[in-house]
Amino acid sequence: MHVLAYLDPGTGSMLVQLLAGGFAAVAVAAKLYWRRLLSLLRIRRRPAEPDPES
């Protein structure tokens, strides 16, 4: 088992890395499992911003 990194990478900072690679990352990004990711982002929305569908 790996030890956890001592730095908290930050959720927002992790997500930027999916999007910030530029054109070089387009091919990679195209292959991403977007549906799962998008559902993740919807689920992870702040509780202060209630989902209008709920």
Binding site: H2, V3, A5, Y6, L7, D8, P9, G10, T11, G12, S13, M14, L15, V16, Q17, L18, L19, A20, G21, G22, A24, A25, A27, V28, A29, K31, L32, Y33, W34, R36, L37, L40, L41, R44, R45, R46
Partner: protein, 474 residues
């Protein structure tokens, strides 16, 4: 109960700035600089030491020279059990990013990204991204945190990305895009500038390279999803297909952003000073000769050039010193000096942005994490040329108090005193009431100097300026 471990404040052998990574800790013994490693860190070290990359980086001098250390006993400095130790080359003088000119912070950022990219290709990674992990051999950056290397987890995003933005990218963007010096911000916050704060300053620069993704999007995603459970997001990103290729694309993109950041420093009052000052060539020649003779009386391990300007005298002092720390309060001047020394490949002059009247203090955890200027080592020789009038008239430091401070360094001294009739002194006094700074007189200065130092020699270099060579009283 037996006290466990060592108290930071009581045990000066522990490097106080190295506490954050609980798998690795730096300490100093009479044999030099050591690093104690946990079991996990030792395994990461073994992976690094076995790689071709490690041998390349050691040969290139990009990473501090390091060997496994054979110690009789491992100190109890880690939360976990200590499993091994390393021995490091000693860096001659520690400096911090809030003291570096723009071009130094930029070169440090490029080294960090280059290491990230090369580590990735070697199946390794760097667990953080802090400019405090980079030190200098004169004008060459050197990475000192060997404990930062770990085995790559190819499906994990870069844990150091946020830190890279806060401590490297945003400070550089502030300087390059807004002409806003980063030193006060980095000195004020050792963790750097959070995305939210960077956005507040840089939102008008959205069309500049790197701002949209690394500042605006970053701040927005952090505000929106910052409280999501990190471990779960990481797991979902792995499932979504986050990969080594994406890491590589991000490093390359950041490299491109940083490479293109340029700070166009305007001409300040000081940038042309060495060439265009108020005394003639003959005076400059006499001054150079005086400094050369005084510096050559000893081989110094460390010399300071206080108020170094274009570095002409720091270069002379370097003829008889292992290292000259050359500092000046004017950022543009220090930036230009660093770039010219880098061009020449000089390893014996370290350039820092620092004001004598506001030098770097002790900062961070227990005031021990980052050391004040003097706590990092005092010089054997200090040059104070064309600087007394700025400190005592502009800075209003009493003449005696400036000499008290210089005396406290316990160093040989070369100091220049321009009279009240000197054109530069007249200019500095020009905005003040008549009779201001009454202690700024040659007779007062000489008396105060002789009370504190043995003055070996003095020589007029022009009609209005005198040089003194002095030693602390035994």
């Amino acid at each position: 109960m037996e006290p466990r471990g060592h108290d930071l404040a009581a045990d000066s052998s522990i490097e106080a700035g190295s506490f954050r990574d609980h798998d690795s800790r730096v300490f100093v013994t009479s044999d030099g600089v050591h690093r104690v490693l946990s079991r996990a860190a030792l395994e990461d070290w073994d992976a690094l030491a076995a790689s071709a990359l490690w041998h390349e980086l050691q040969a290139e001098g990009r990473v501090v020279a390091t060997q496994p250390a054979q110690l009789d006993a491992l100190p109890d400095l880690l939360a976990a059990e200590a499993a091994g130790a390393l021995h490091h080359e000693r860096v001659p003088f520690i400096s911090y990013p809030y003291e570096w000119p723009f071009a130094m912070l930029k070169d440090a950022a490029l080294l960090q990204l280059e290491l990230n990219l090369r580590a990735l290709q070697a199946g390794l990674a760097l667990k953080d991204a802090s400019p405090y992990n980079i030190q200098w051999r004169g004008s060459a950056p050197i990475f000192i945190d060997v404990g930062s290397f770990e085995r790559l987890r190819p499906t994990e995003p870069w844990a150091g990305y946020r830190q890279f933005c806060m401590l490297f990218l945003y400070p550089l963007m502030l300087q390059a895009y807004k002409d806003l010096p980063f030193h006060a911000v980095l000195r004020g916050s050792l963790d750097g500038i959070p995305p939210h704060d960077a956005r507040a300053v840089l939102s008008g620069e959205r069309f500049r390279r790197g701002v949209l993704a690394n500042v605006l999007l970053h701040a927005r995603l952090e505000a929106r999803y910052g409280d999501a459970e990190g471990r779960e997001v990481k797991r979902e990103m792995q499932r979504a297909g986050f990969s080594k290729q994406l890491l590589e694309a991000n490093f390359k993109k950041l490299l491109k952003v940083v490479r293109e950041l340029e700070w166009k420093a305007g001409a300040t009052a000081w940038t042309g000073y060495g060439k265009d000052n108020s005394y003639d060539e003959a005076a400059a020649g006499r001054k150079a000769q005086f400094v050369r003779e005084a510096a050559a009386r000893r081989r110094s391990r460390l010399s300071w050039d206080v108020g170094c300007n274009d570095g002409a005298y720091a270069r002379i002092a370097a003829e008889s010193a292992d290292l000259v720390v050359a500092f000046d309060a004017d950022h543009a001047t220090v930036d230009a000096l660093y770039r010219s020394l880098r061009e020449e490949g000089r390893s014996d002059i370290l350039t820092l942005v620092m004001s004598v009247t506001d030098p770097s203090p002790d900062l961070g955890w227990r005031g021990l994490e980052r050391a004040s200027l003097e706590r990092r080592g005092t010089p054997e020789l200090a040059l104070c040329l064309a600087v007394v009038h700025h400190v005592c008239i502009t800075g209003n430091v009493p003449v005696r108090e400036l000499l008290d401070w210089l005396n406290s360094l316990d160093a040989a001294l070369v100091i220049e005193f321009p009279d009240r009739s000197d054109p530069m002194v007249e200019r500095l006094l020009g905005g003040k009431r008549d009779g201001s700074n009454p202690d700024y007189e040659r007779a007062t200065f000489e008396r105060a100097l002789e009370e504190r130092f043995t003055v070996d020699r003095s020589e007029p270099v022009s009609e209005t300026r005198t040089l003194y060579e002095a030693r602390p009283r035994a």
